[in-house]
Every structure is written in structure tokens, then in C-alpha cells.
Amino acid sequence: MKLDSKIPEGKLKDKWRNYQVKSQLINPANKKKLNIIVVGSGLAGAGAASTLAELGYDVRCFCYQDSARRAHSVAAQGGINAAKNYQHDGDSIYRMFYDTLKGGDFRSREANTYRLAELSAPLIDHFVQQGVPFAREYGGTLVNRSFGGVQVQRTFYARGQTGQQLLLAAYSQLYKMVRAKKVEMFPRSEMLDLVVIDGKAKGIIVRDLVSGELKRYAADAVVLATGGYSRVFRLSTLAIGCNGSALWKAHKKGALFGAPSFTQIHPTALPQSSEAQSKLTLMSESLRNDGRIWVPKTKADTRKANDIPEEERDYYLERRYPSFGNLAPRDIASRAAKERIDAGFGVGRLKNAVYLDFKHPIEKYGLETIKDRYGNLFNMYKKITGIDAYKEPMQISPAAHFSMGGLWVDYELMTTIPGLYAVGECNFSDHGANRLGANSLLQASVDGYFILPNTINNYLASEINTDHPTTSHPEFDKAEKDTKDYIEKVLAVNGTKTVDHFHRELGKVMWQECAMSRNKTGLEKAITEIKIIREQFWCDVKVTGNDKEMNTELEKALRLADFIELGILMCTDALEREESCGAHFREEFQTEEGEAIRVDKDYSYVSAWEYKKDEFKLHKEVLEFEFVKPSVRSYK
């Protein structure tokens, strides 16, 4: 299989324009005849569904939650980047492109990354017009703040609820099109299989989560906007329902999986406090704008944070990375925290955390200013931990967060299955081996609102005159029957252990061997262990209830079965890549000071994995850097 990334010709700044000029158009009368399925209703999904509907396509949108407004984009706190240069601090599209490419440690495509930066500015215009209440100056203009890995201020925000405000704007636009009868919305519906006819994506099989009924939907194109899969670690910052099943089913039907092991571990989440914990709550990275991270200089210090004098505190990020300090990129900040915690300097009851301290900024700017900037985050911290962070430092710890990896897509965001698109977090495209803060809302929105609606026509133009698929096609019969058999197989096991038991087991292995720090022996061991978990799952899992009713336990079991297989692929990918880059840190490849060693000579490619029944075959998309010379990523 040859991977064609379809990068348009021309200079970096002309590529998107050149693409649009050459891409095929469809006249409005023909658009009405074409229908598109969008799976997922987050920023990418709702953005795509509403915009495609505005263009005239017939759209159906599916989500597993009770309403489109719950999608996990809602939880992004800190902000969204855009190269507006409102702060007059030297920002530009090129600088934003370069920061993103460098932040991703030169493991993403230049053309895609440039387009992300290029479309960021009009996106802010778009959201303001939709009614997003971004933070404002007294004079009424927009405010910006800094985020990790960047030296300019280009992040727009709406308190600590930016994701919520953007998602609600997208959701309201979606419902505008529902009212116009151009989008049909299917909440409480989970995609369980992709239907491929003559090599093209033509529909999906969906389980109605209320009645349990399996339903068929046919379309001329299918768009996946299903988000990240870091719940494979069980404990993560993701919503409990987030899953990788739609991706996994598409992968099994032929879509290549790009860089599956590239997972961002977020440095500022709340630490795990017990085995029963289901979720690690994220505290926005924006806190690192003012908060200072430290641990005591003495191992296993038992004093309270406020009793430790200034000279006995180790501000390790400021010490190791003087030019970026507390705003070092996420992968670096997480690894530095792990290094201190592993070395015995961790704080908190389980010694698994570090301090994030606001004493100095409160002294400097006053309590009111800090409350205005982060008030809701401090309130959230208090609700969960019972601690007042205005009076003593927060305790934070790294947690699994964003999936840079996802279905491999070309410049048009199409996967290797014609007619199947992946937008937002579920694709591998712009972030390389590490995503910069406030770039995820950006990518999801740009993919959904601006890119896909301009690329999908290039494929659909050739579908106007072909037979439109119907759900009576034998491929639908087969996909539905396979799904039905699969569900029955899960229910038939009737073993002795709960789904959560197996998820905890999987999570432990993945967190230990395939998270912040990886090595050959560990990864090989992990693959063996996950295969054992898979075997045990299929002979000992217990799911009560049946498939003809709302059954949350069955939903969890189906998602976990896919996570287990995905875990094997992630470890396989991490094992294959013998270098350290971005969030992928192989212990064998580090300097004496513990910094990553990237091996451009051998690994300057995107890994794209093909599913081969219990095995995975590697394809490589070699990354060619035409405009930027990859350098050693330094934040010192």
C-alpha cells in the first residue's frame, strides 16, 4: 500500500489556496442528493455537521451521550490559539506554524501544520460571531494569555471554560441546522461497525443505547469525529464514555492507524487517591502562567508546604529550563515531574504529586486578580479535594490526556478507506509527537468548520452519479450480523470478573510501560501481558442484563474489548520507534541529563499500521521537511 498524503504544490503559504482552486465543486442542487454521516458531536463533529448542512448536504449526526452538548470538547479549560498578533508581540502564522511543528518534535506534516496556523485567525472571528464570550479588555477588544511551549501570547479564552463555550456555540449551530431540517440528530447512539462497499465507506451500524436495537444507516461518505482514546489507560482526564471503538472498527475494516502510541501525558491533573478512582481531573495548563511548580529539596519531607522555607524548595522546571520555566511544553513538564517523584521528592499522601504554588503571584498581583483569572479552577479544586488553594499550594500529578495518534489521514483528512474521513482528535495530522496547549480546540474546530467542508466535495463529486447506497445491501446484512454475534459472544462469557476489573488491569500495564517513559523490555512484556488480559477477558468477564435494553455494563464491555486490542497496537508502535521524540520517550535514547535523543536519520516518518488479524503491518509516510530544518528541540 502506498501512502499518498496529497500535499498540494507550491510554497507553504500558497498550498491551501492552491488546493481550493483545484478541488472539484458540487452545485447546490446536487449537494441535496448527497448524504453524509458524522459520528461524534464535539467541536469537530458538530462543526462539520452544521457546516456541511449549511452547504446543502443531507447530514445525520450521532453521539453516545444524551445530548450533543455533552461531548468532551466541553471539558477543555485553558483556551484556543490563534495567530492574530493582537498583542503586538511578534506573532505570525509562520511563528505559530513553527512553534507547533517544533512542539510536535518534527513528527508532523509541514503542510498540515501550516494550514492549522493559517486558519486559526478566521476561526476566532467565526467564534466571536457565534456568540462565544471570550475574555475582553476594558476597551472591549479581545485578551490573550500565554500557554506552554510558546513565547508569545496567542491564546484566547473564556475564563477556565473555553472548551465549554466553543462547544456550546458549535452545538447551537448544529441545532440551528436541526431546526432547518438539514441535520438529523441521533443522541444515545453508538457506532459499532463501519460498512464498506466496493472498497468505499458507505454506512455504519449503530446500537440504540436506550432500546439496544441495532440500526443501519447508509451514506455517501462517513466522517468520524470520535475524539481521543486515552481511556485505554483507564485513569485519564477524559470523560468516562470516551472510547476508541469507532476508530478500531474502521481500522479493522482497512483504515491505517497513524502513530497510535503518541499519547500526551498532561502535567497538571489531580493525583490519584485510591484504587476505586475512575477519573483524573485536569487542572488547566493556564495555571502555569502564574503558578510555580516545586518539590521540597529534601526527600520524603513531611512538613506542610507552607512550613518549607523558600531556600529549601526546588523549582525544578525553572532550574532545568530557564528560558521557558514553568511554561515548558507538556511532555517535558510531565517527565520532569515523574523524574522528581520517582527520585523520592513527591508530595501528598501517596507521595505521587508536586506542588503548584500561587503564593508569589497572589503577593504580586493581588488576590482579586488571581481570582478573576482562575477563580473557577480554584473552586473546582476545592470541591474535589476540600483544600483552599489560595492558602496552600495545589497538589498536581501527570495524567493521560490527549491522543496525538489516530487514523492516518491525508491532506484532505481522508483515511485510507475512500469516503471515510477522520476529523479532530481522532486523526493523526497536525500535532506530531506532542501537542501544544490550546491547539486541540483549534484543530478540532478548523478540521470541522473549515477544512473538511472544503475537501469532502473533492471525493463526493465523483459519487453523485454512482448508485447511492441502501441499507439492504448484503454488506449491511453482514456487518449487522457480525455485530450481533459479537455482542452475543460478550454476553455469553458469563464469567466471574467485572469489566472494570479488566480495565484496571489494562490501565496498570499501559500506564507502567506505555506512558511517559518506555523501554524495549517493558513494552515486550506489556504486549504479552495485554494478550493474557485479552484471553482472560474473553473467558472470564461477566456482564449482566441483556442486549435489548439500556445496559451500561454491556456498553463498557464492548468499549473495553476494543481498548485491549488498541493497547497491543500502541505498545507495538512504541516498541518499533527506537528514538525519543515528543511524548514518546524511550529510555534507551536519552542524553546524560535525561533529555530526549531524536533519530531523524531512521525515524523521520509517520508510522501507519495496517490491521492483519492479530498482527500489524507497518507502512511509513516519510516526512519531508521542505521549508523548516528539524532542529534539536530545546526549551532551556
Binding site: 457546516t51 449549511e54 444524551d66 445530548s67 452538548r69 455533552r70 461531548a71 466541553v74 471539558a75 493582537y86 476566532i124 472571528d125 467565526h126 466571536v128 460571531q129 457565534q130 456568540g131 464570550p133 471570550f134 475582553r136 479588555e137 476597551g139 472591549g140 479581545l142 475564563r159 471554560q161 472548551g163 465549554q164 463555550q165 452545538y171 447551537s172 449551530q173 441545532y175 431546526r179 440528530m185 443522541p187 436506550v210 470523560a239 468516562i240 487517591s273 485510591s274 476505586a276 478512582q277 475512575s278 477519573k279 481531573t281 473546582m380 470541591k383 474535589i384 476540600g386 467542508p453 466471574t496 472494570d500 461477566k542 449482566t544 435494553e549 439500556m550 445496559n551 451500561t552 455494563e553
Partner: protein, 247 residues
């Protein structure tokens, strides 16, 4: 920590419900309330019983999907908090904790603690948007929005759509939910063009869905996880009158 949960069980929308008691041991104060229910569900599976259906997703207080009545209060014993943010440290060893679904005619029970809140989506559908197509927005700083307006708008826009306001209201009124959205959009210069239509149609839909009238008791703002003020309802009422005169 050991508690007794008394939980509403109901097979389906048309079935009769019943409160069942479950003694649960082995809980800790650090556990969230929903983690305690997760734990109970695992015990039920091992006893070959059907799990209790309840809703959640983000578990950090922002998606608005969780929400049950706990000991007679929406989202539990604290003001302004979601169910997922509630922790077992708020209860004592040996407590009896009664858990029921939202009770409102417009939120019919689907199963156990799960209710159908799609009425909220249908209110949003009636104008909770600014009719601008993707691609046609003016430059963001072209229309200044004063900080005090922007802050007020954000206070209203923070609504997570959980439905606690309706559930706790003796009239099952959706006035707080609807007013927050109307005021969010109508106070922005971008939302002005459609303000009267929006006020009229969204409030009309609220009645179509069968939500009760607001009698201004203030019960909703106590439970609202985002602390949205009932001043919004007064503002909405004024807007509705204005829409009748000018719309």
C-alpha cells in the same frame, strides 16, 4: 466506610418504580459519590444482578450529564455542585442515602436514575443561536464588547444544562435554563438582530414542553452548579414583554 443506598429502580418508562436498599461496605472518604455507585454496580454484577443505570460522562462538573436527587436535594447536600463533584467525605459512616432521578413531567424516566432531557435541546433549537453561516464572520475585534457586558454574558453562558434547576423547582420550571441562554445571546452585539424572535420562541417552546411557570422562589439558583442568578429570569421576563411590543 459503610452506607446504605436506597435507590430508585425502574425498568422502563412505563414500568412502576420502587426504592431498593443496598448496603455497601468498603467505601472511602476520598471516593466520589459516583465512584461509590460504580463500586455498588460491580458488587451487583458479581451477584448476577442487573446494574443500576445512572448518567455521567466528564466527571469534572462541566458536561452536565450527571444529576440525581440525593437525600431530597438536586446534586446532593451542597449548594452549587454537580453530582460527580460530590465526595463520600460529605457523608458519615452508617448513613442512609436516598437516590432518586430528576422528577419533572418534562423529564420522563428512561430507566432507574436516567431521565430524558431532550426538551432542553428542543428549547435550544428554537433560536439559541446566531444565524451566521461558517465563513461569513467579520474580523473579531471589529465589534468591541465592553468587559462588564462580556463578564455578565459569561456568567449566563456558563450553564451546563444539567436540569437541576427544573428538578428542584416546585413548578418544574425551566426558566433559569432558558433565561441564561437568552441573556447570553441577547446581551451580545452579535445576538441583537434576532433578540425579540429568540425571546419569544424559546419561551414559547418552554411552555410547549410542559415546564411549569416560575414563581420566583429562588430554589434553582441554590442548586445550579454554575451559580447562575435568578436575576436572569427577571431579565428574561422583561425581554419577553419587550418582544411582544417590538418583536
Amino acid at each position: 466506610m459503610k452506607v446504605t443506598f436506597k435507590i430508585w429502580r425502574q425498568e422502563g418508562p412505563k414500568d412502576e418504580g420502587v426504592i431498593r436498599a443496598y448496603e455497601v461496605d468498603g467505601l472511602t472518604e476520598d471516593m466520589s459519590f459516583l465512584e461509590a455507585l460504580d463500586h455498588l454496580n460491580e458488587l451487583l454484577v458479581l451477584k448476577d444482578e442487573k446494574v443500576i443505570a445512572y448518567e455521567y460522562d466528564c466527571r469534572e462538573g462541566i458536561c452536565g450529564q450527571c444529576g440525581v436527587f440525593i437525600n431530597g436535594r438536586a446534586h446532593g447536600p451542597h449548594d452549587n455542585m454537580t453530582t460527580c463533584q460530590l465526595h463520600m467525605r460529605s457523608f458519615n459512616d452508617g448513613d442512609i442515602i436516598v437516590v432518586e432521578p430528576w422528577r419533572a413531567a418534562s423529564f420522563p424516566v428512561i430507566k432507574d436514575l436516567v431521565v430524558d432531557r431532550s426538551a432542553f435541546d428542543r428549547i435550544i433549537e428554537q433560536g439559541a443561536y446566531i444565524s451566521t453561516k461558517t465563513g461569513s464572520a467579520p474580523e473579531a475585534n471589529a465589534i468591541p464588547v465592553p468587559k462588564d457586558i462580556s463578564d455578565r454574558v459569561m456568567d449566563a453562558a456558563a450553564c451546563i444544562g444539567c436540569g437541576a434547576c427544573v428538578a428542584t423547582c416546585k413548578n418544574s420550571s425551566a426558566a433559569l435554563f432558558t433565561s441564561a441562554k437568552i441573556n447570553h445571546l441577547n446581551n451580545l452585539p452579535q445576538g441583537k438582530a434576532e433578540e425579540h424572535k429568540r425571546s419569544a420562541e424559546m419561551t414559547f417552546q418552554m411552555e410547549v414542553e410542559g415546564f411549569g411557570s416560575c414563581t420566583f422562589t429562588g430554589a434553582c439558583e441554590v442548586e445550579c452548579p454554575e451559580g447562575i442568578s435568578i436575576i436572569n429570569i427577571a431579565e428574561m421576563n422583561a425581554r419577553v414583554i419587550k418582544s411582544k411590543l417590538l418583536g
